[in-house]
Symmetry: C2
Subunit: 415 residues, 2 copies
């Protein structure tokens, strides 16, 4: 039996200790964790093979099994991720602002760790290492609860990291894994408000929605991406085509893949047939509004539902608009506030789009696929926040902090 409250107490105690560590101590520990992963490669692969065997026996899809699989390269990759986190600036101790009040109090607002972070996630075992590394860099203790498909891998990875910490004289309770993968334990974890400061769910949209609905612990919502690419009348169409293809097909299952194309009417007739062909060549099914179907009759008529849907698949829907204002209105209505891109060479159009689109990341002339902690330069990423509270967009170590006001006086009382 897992005692989550006991784990919560250990995490709180560890979080106090982590809050006292200097940057070098934390970085040395992260390097030690990276070395330990590599040194433990053989063992990790043995444990991972058990998960792969179970997955095969349970008839899990090949693509899923590939995501589960750890080999020497992938373990090196995880270690490299930890080393990148070392190279990032330490957010802790940074002073955001400081001033003196009318009463003569000196106030500084300092970045401090959040405390204890809970991660509930599905499938890929690398999340175990990425999350542990980023949480540790920001001085947080983490309680990890991965899915049952990766349980053997997660246990050996967490043990490896914990042993590395122990060897270097830092409390191993900075990283704890919940080895029980039952729903009951997950539910209990979502209610652990006395011990977990923030809960971050990672996985499918359905999974995240379930956690958001059940949890009492404050949540950072990640995930859903109904991303648009708008091709303006002044677009360089030689840029537009590869950007749309990249955003759609490079990895269609992820949240920053493009799901919709919005075309200005002035370029639609010239551009859409080429775009349709290129998408077809990449096995993408194209749906569209009436005007799109009028231009390319093979396009499947889209329903109102299509505009809301995140396909996560080789499907895209095309909408033709009269002007930029209509494009912005359409995108702001149907998007999930994740990532949107305008393709244009027009200064005023790019400025208006970036100002008026409501999303975590707004692009001019680039693929939406760049919304990613690594691409942003955050080392690993803990997830991509699609909410407006606390953090928005890719979250790195910086987003795993809060602030504390330190106020110095010399006897002030309030009038």
């Amino acid at each position: 039996m897992i005692d989550l409250i006991e784990m919560g107490k250990k995490a709180q105690s560890a979080s106090f200790d982590l809050g006292q560590l200097g940057t070098n101590e934390k970085n040395n520990a992260l390097l030690k964790m990276a070395d330990s992963l590599i040194a433990n490669t053989k063992n990790i692969i043995i444990e991972n093979k058990k998960d792969i065997e179970n997955a095969k026996n349970n008839g899990i899809a090949k693509a899923m099994i590939d995501r589960l699989m750890l080999d020497e390269d992938r373990i090196l990759g995880m270690a490299e991720g930890l080393r990148q986190v070392v190279a990032l600036p330490d957010p802790i101790g940074r002073i955001d602002r400081g001033w003196t009040t009318t009463a003569g109090l000196d106030i500084v607002q300092e970045r401090v760790p959040l405390g204890v972070i809970g991660m509930i996630y599905e499938a890929r075992p690398n999340v175990t290492v990425d999350a542990a590394g980023l949480c540790f860099k920001a001085g947080n203790a983490v309680i990890l609860r991965g899915g049952k498909e990766a349980i053997n891998s997660n246990i050996v990875l967490a043990d490896t990291l914990r042993n590395a910490l122990k060897e270097i004289g830092i409390t191993e309770n900075a990283v704890q894994l919940v080895s029980d993968t039952s729903h009951e334990i997950a539910n209990e974890m979502m209610q652990l408000t006395d011990y977990i400061d923030v809960l971050i769910p990672r996985g499918s949209g359905k999974f995240i929605k379930m956690v958001v609905n059940k949890a009492k612990v404050p949540i950072i919502e990640t995930g859903a991406g109904n991303c648009h690419i708008y091709v303006d009348k002044d677009a360089d169409l030689d840029k537009a085509l590869p950007i749309i293809i990249n955003a759609k097909v490079q990895r269609p299952s992820v949240c920053n893949a493009a799901e919709k194309v919005v075309l200005h009417k002035d370029i639609a007739e010239k551009f859409l047939p080429k775009l349709y062909q290129a998408l077809k060549d990449n096995n993408v099914q194209v749906r569209g509004d009436e005007r799109a179907v009028k231009i390319v009759s093979d396009i499947i008529p889209a329903t109102e539902d299509d505009w809301y849907t995140e396909y996560n698949d080789y499907i895209i829907a095309v909408k033709v608009v009269d002007n930029l204002d209509e494009a912005i209105k359409h995108i702001n209505k149907y998007n999930t506030k994740h990532s949107e891109s305008i393709i244009t060479e027009n200064y005023a159009a790019s400025r208006q789009f970036m100002k008026q689109i409501d999303a975590a990341v707004v692009y001019a002339n680039a693929s939406t696929r760049f919304t990613d902690g690594n691409e942003f330069g955050f080392g690993a990423e803990i997830g991509i926040s699609t909410q407006k509270l606390h953090a928005r967009g890719p979250m790195g170590a910086n987003e795993l902090t809060t602030t504390k006001y330190l106020v110095q006086g010399d006897g002030q009382i309030r009038e």
Copy 2:
């Protein structure tokens, strides 16, 4: 019948318009709102009298009625609050950071409004004006839902602000009041995730807990304050005494009032009798642990429950500790992470206390009563956050913002 969804749509549309306003346009509108309040003084007092009458008929306590009451001075005060908000820097459009990625993308992280803010609050009608002013300054539309005790006052105040906006040519839907004070409407508002970005409850601890439990809209929790003052062995006792008295009795019902005193054993015997007498002179009931009772036998023995309790009353509990470490451990165990203060002339002790105490605001040699938006210099305040996500401590206009990443490229696709 109130149509909350219709109000939500109007708020969203207004929030888009507010996002396009410049600082001067917003400041002029705030000044206009301030002038309109003063110009409408007579009318506001007439409507407020209805609330006062109702309160008297319903046998509501005198202290509550006083908080409800609006006179010329208080209306001037609300207008003055709006003018202070004008004088604050505009958080919108500020660039938090910017860099160029490996792929050659230029990223800036810009401060933008949260969007639509919901406020659910009890009693005092000035919250209507304070919240509207701060939300507006940060470019947010606000939906206000005050308590039934102040409904006539809230309606006339919201109408005054809306008319001021209309006169100056800004959408009056920037400020909307839910004139139905039923629980059903409040519940519906808490589930309005499609239209409200953030919900901020203000009121009693019980009220806030209820909202936190029921709401599906992301919440910023405000309120609970079990604040401690630790008197170190190296304290200047001439500072300690007035600070404790101020923090306890200046306004015992508020969240930043002191509820506990922690005394270093070396000064306890000398200091506690004086402190006890001063508290008694101020009609404060003193409870304490065994060691405190041993020093002053009139002190009432405290139970375990006492250490957790926010009295909001003329009661305080005293704990005697062996050293600073024990004091910190005690405070971190029982506090609500609101405001804590150390009284000491010792450099190392103040440094350790400020570093190791987990709270929104940590003081050296000052009263906890300064944890307040006005005292911090934020003009009005929207509440004091006691959570770690998004905002911590007093919240002004700055805390009513989020960020958006703006990414400029020239055709980048992801490898």
